[in-house]
Subunit: 383 residues, 2 copies
Amino acid sequence: MTVTAPKGFTAAGVAAGIKESGQPDLALVVNEGPRRAAAGVFTANRVKAAPVLWSQQVLRGGEVSAVVLNSGGANACTGPKGFQDTHATAERAAAALGHSAAEIAVASTGLIGTYLPMDRLLPGIDKAAAELSPHGGERAAIAIRTTDTVHKTAVRAGEGWSVGGMAKGAGMLAPGLATLLVVLTTDADLAPPVLDKAVRDAVRTTFERVDSDGCMSTNDTVLLLASGASGVTPGYEEFADVLREVCEDLARKLIGDAEGASKDIRIEVIHAATEDDAVEVGRTIARNNLLKCAIHGEDPNWGRVLSAIGTTKAVFEPERLNVAINGVWVCREGSAGDGRDLVDMRFREVRITADLDAGTHSAVIWANDLTAEYVHENSAYSS
Amino acid sequence: MTVTAPKGFTAAGVAAGIKESGQPDLALVVNEGPRRAAAGVFTANRVKAAPVLWSQQVLRGGEVSAVVLNSGGANACTGPKGFQDTHATAERAAAALGHSAAEIAVASTGLIGTYLPMDRLLPGIDKAAAELSPHGGERAAIAIRTTDTVHKTAVRAGEGWSVGGMAKGAGMLAPGLATLLVVLTTDADLAPPVLDKAVRDAVRTTFERVDSDGCMSTNDTVLLLASGASGVTPGYEEFADVLREVCEDLARKLIGDAEGASKDIRIEVIHAATEDDAVEVGRTIARNNLLKCAIHGEDPNWGRVLSAIGTTKAVFEPERLNVAINGVWVCREGSAGDGRDLVDMRFREVRITADLDAGTHSAVIWANDLTAEYVHENSAYSS
């Protein structure tokens, strides 16, 4: 299912030999039409991987016939040769599928600064093209994993149409975006400008509000492909709602599988003067290493929440701040509130509510705790 | 020595019983004159501890007769009662020393959100006052430690005058400032406005350029007291240079004793368009958890340096970035440079040089690696 749940899509996932482990590492998602409308959102990092630079160009045309995705190498910080490799990837897929390379998006994930093994990647594209199937979505989702322990997929149905999606990402999750590759598909019949608005709206309140470790990747890519195969053109709000639900589902799964994490932290900032204030405060709390350690230790250390809030530019008065952890208001009006011993933190999901008492806006940011396992996993990544 | 190295100062450090461990937890530093000029810099955190609010008021008068410092409790997020406790602390010291409370600065460090045990703290002030000595600087430095494994002191001599200092801090080190308490003393004969400029200049390029874990405290305080007891009035540059050296020495010691750290990372950003750019890039590298983990794993992962630089607003072109780790240019012009295996990372100090190739400015930021011990120490802090 997943990206092949909507009508008009085929996919495949194969082991091309990019990963030394022999695990699946190359995925192909093809829009079989009749329409090939598309939109995308890419990393805000100014150091962009070659496939991001390539796919941004492709998206300008508003049409994408297929996406080639590989794990096992990010093809970032690889200079002109890296860009040539991405170009060759698109050309090979174009030849295999009978399309123009200008309509083939490419996405890569893995270690920065090394070249992709093109002698294995290119034959892998032919292999994937030969295995394309309307049931191939699951295998595609499996092939894009790096340190992901599970593959992430989601699907939601509209009236006579649907949206499917797959995502990879397990660390380096940060707004704007994360080390995530996401392919979303729909058989709704929608034009590129509508898809563009819908995907930007959805990403803004979902993938851009997960912040596992404050780090921003060079490769983040979210693509939305529309085949029009359902023959249905839903209203904008109707479509946007379903798309957002799929993105929310995938974003939650990314946080739930973040590297080394033992807690998923839902930070809700309420009564902010503006939504920007709420997001700034939420992100600042999400990135506070001391708080992330405290949550790992199941310690409802609200002082660290206030310390973090104090570093923001949001509208608030210190003596009017309230903080709840798992529903217990441990900080009231800037000082100690209800007993810390009332807070039960045994479960994986931890809820922090920060009440700025300064307005009517709110936002939710998802984060993870900081653990020895995170340190271990990221100390040993490239060596 | 330390704060009592310059003429005209006495100090003491005692165990008042604020810490349950019975370790020393209360320090007194007294300016015996003839002058009592002073200046200070405080945390930029908008959630400020009661002693910070108090001491900021005291400093407005430009005169400080004594500083009371306690570990074992931050007296932050403690509301009106917390402020009353700080006021009572100053009053008690004023009575013991025969000065006005309006000239007594107070600094506290420890857990946020709990009240200080005033029934033990106040008698501790009397005890410290009784033990004041021109040789008490060392004991004062010992009494202000929290998770510090060593006490930190420094002293430098000018011509006929000197500057001494003590610092505490071992985590939550961040610009603007850190969880640090610093008392600097000098027997130079200087007026408050000169001291103010000198201490701000010194802090800006020393304590504000250490960033152990990106977190900013509610209690950071740097005080400079001048007794004039040497009878010498050095020129501004002469004094500022010596003061900066003392601050650099203390800042380096803070990084060297940061919680759980196994590496001290010296990040030098060169060829930046402006000093602000250099500092922004340095801080962003310093706060990148993935890079901090890689350094811990002795992995010269320059891709994470570029990823971090890419999130800044500094002037640079990705394909012109160069990065050296311990002197080996592992990244040249945005791509792989000299061999990573040439980098020797066995020693505690690691040097990262980021060349933006965009101008003539530079800055140095000091940071630490991220370790399982950091997680452990900060998971168990308050519980």
